[in-house]
């Protein structure tokens, strides 16, 4: 078991967003979270990355409880990469600097030492010619791919993707999904919150349907998409498919 979430509760003020979520993710598995906006997908991902403190429940990474308040969140976050809907590149740095910042600060190694690693990543995702570009000089798809490279440069064990194609023009969605396919093929453990049902069906090992802060139904894509057990799942799928 790579990642295990046990009875996770999270509320913002009076608004309870996660109501006892349980989820297990195996090494090399891709789990897709689907559900309407506000069903708790993003919040769940932010809790796993420790961007939000959980109110109750536990999250285990390789058996280590990362939600332990005594635990320093910084090294945990280094092990879990996250990519956001709006890319969130640092606009005052070019693509290469965006990628190098965290490795430089955390490993203490120099640009020159780290550069080959970064260059290899840019090569791998066909962005070698964009290393010197600033975010506002790149398309949304390119920016999102740089954001993925930036997260990968920390050599994370798990990657979280929060609606990473939702802000993209339709013709740019494909290049980002190709990157995700590539990562899956390389054996990365991934959790995606997504609205791309076709992609989820094609690539995911497991799909979870979130409804009002609970995982209402989970299973292999064929089963969940074709023979949903819960009426609410069927209803949701009929709306988005």
């Amino acid at each position: 078991m790579k990642l295990e979430i046990i009875d996770l509760w999270k509320k913002f003020g009076a608004n309870v967003v996660c109501k006892g979520i349980d989820l297990a993710v195996n090494e090399g598995e891709m789990v897709c979270l689907i559900g309407a906006s506000g069903s708790g997908k993003s919040t769940l991902l932010r809790c796993i990355n420790l961007l939000e403190p959980v109110d109750d429940g536990r999250i285990l990474l390789d058996g280590l409880e990362i939600t332990d308040p005594e635990q320093d969140p910084q090294p945990i976050r280094q092990r879990i990469g996250m990519v956001f809907q709006s890319y969130n590149l640092f606009p005052h740095m070019n693509a290469l600097e965006n990628v190098l910042l965290a490795p430089r600060r955390i490993t203490g190694r120099s640009r020159a030492e780290l550069r080959p690693m970064a260059e290899a990543l840019f090569e791998r995702f066909n962005l070698a010619d964009r290393m010197g570009h600033y975010p506002d000089q790149m398309s949304g798809g390119q920016q999102q791919r740089v954001a993925i490279i930036r997260a990968l440069a920390m050599k994370p064990e798990v990657m979280l993707f929060d609606e990473v194609t939702s802000a993209l023009d339709p013709e740019l969605v494909g290049e980002v999904l190709d990157v995700l396919r590539q990562l899956k093929a390389e054996g990365m453990t991934m959790i995606l919150a997504t609205h791309e049902m076709g992609f989820a069906r094609e690539v995911a090992d497991k799909v979870c349907f979130l409804d009002a802060g609970r995982i209402l139904e989970e299973g292999p894509p064929e089963q969940l998409f074709e023979r949903p057990r819960e009426p609410r799942t069927a209803e949701f799928l009929s709306r988005v498919l």
């Binding site: 961007l51 280094q78 640092f90």
Partner: protein
């Protein structure tokens, strides 16, 4: 039918315009520009003429001229005023970096989010309320006379030290607010991205938030520096003979206000180009953001 005619007419004249090198729109705009420049030139000329002709006709003009624009007094006092202005410049150069640093420290305190740092945040809030709420001149008086009055030995009771300390305390409260506006203008998602990469809070501020925030607030901060350049003269209230005080001495000696006009001119020579430069910076930044 009617619509197609309306469309056809501009197309035809547009073709004719292109032959002469200018489109119809360009020609019309050029005509309008020329006319508005003529109007502006004429109205400016009339306004200046009115001032030059009418003001000297007022009954008090001769006295005002003698008291404010006296050539003999101007020539006698100007060199010494210029000399005294260097003290203003020196105090400014000494204060500005301290204000920049202390203002930033205050802004960072104010940004503190962990409960353990709440006392710092509270301090920064009270500080900013206090020093923005009290006129600079009062701060200068209270600190400039009050702290040396505690019995500090020379040179630590110098009005130069405590006067500039007062300026730094006051101005850093304003500058901290400027920084804070900049820091808050950086979207939360930038912090989330930095933190998710495993960067520490300090690294996040230093490499991600502050570089963007400071770039955004430089024009506003520069405006504060221009006010500072003027307010440095307030330190004269507790003793230092800088340009404002020197002008006052001459005013008393000659019972004439011309030295103040001279001092104002010297300030203008410095602040007008600085203001223009800031305006250009703001315009450039707005272009870049749009």
């Amino acid at each position: 039918m009617g619509a197609s005619e309306r469309q056809a007419a501009p197309a035809g004249s547009g073709a004719a315009g292109r032959e002469s090198g200018l489109s119809r729109r360009e020609r019309r705009e050029r005509r309008e520009r020329r006319r508005s420049m003529l109007i502006a030139a004429a109205s400016t000329a009339i306004a200046i003429a009115a001032i030059v002709i009418l003001v000297p006709m007022t009954p008090g003009w001769e006295k005002v001229q003698k008291a404010f624009f006296n050539e003999a007094v101007f020539v006698k006092t100007f060199p010494k005023l210029l000399e005294a202005f260097w003290l203003d410049v020196a105090m400014f150069l000494w204060c500005a970096p301290l204000i920049a640093v202390w203002g930033l420290v205050l802004a960072l305190m104010r940004d503190a989010r962990s409960p353990a740092l709440y006392p710092l945040k509270l301090f920064a809030i009270l500080y900013s309320d206090l020093f923005r709420g009290v006129p600079v001149i009062l701060v200068i008086y209270l600190i400039g006379f009050g702290i040396p009055g505690l019995g500090l030995p020379r040179p630590w009771n110098s009005p130069y030290i405590w006067g500039t300390v007062a300026l730094v305390l006051s101005y850093s409260a304003y500058v901290a607010e400027v920084y804070r506006a900049g820091i808050e203008s950086i979207h939360e998602s930038q912090r989330a991205a930095a933190v998710s990469l495993g960067l520490s809070h300090g690294d996040m501020m230093r490499f991600v938030v502050l570089p963007q925030a400071i770039r955004r607030v430089i024009p506003a901060a520069m405006n504060n520096l221009i006010s500072l350049q003027k307010d440095v003269a307030l330190v004269s209230f507790i003793g230092p003979v800088e340009i404002f005080r020197q002008a006052g001495v001459y005013k008393s000696l000659y019972a004439n206000f011309t030295p103040y006009v001279g001092a104002a001119l010297i300030f203008l020579v410095v602040t007008v180009p600085a203001t223009r430069a800031v305006d250009r910076m703001i315009a450039r930044q707005q272009r870049r953001q749009s």
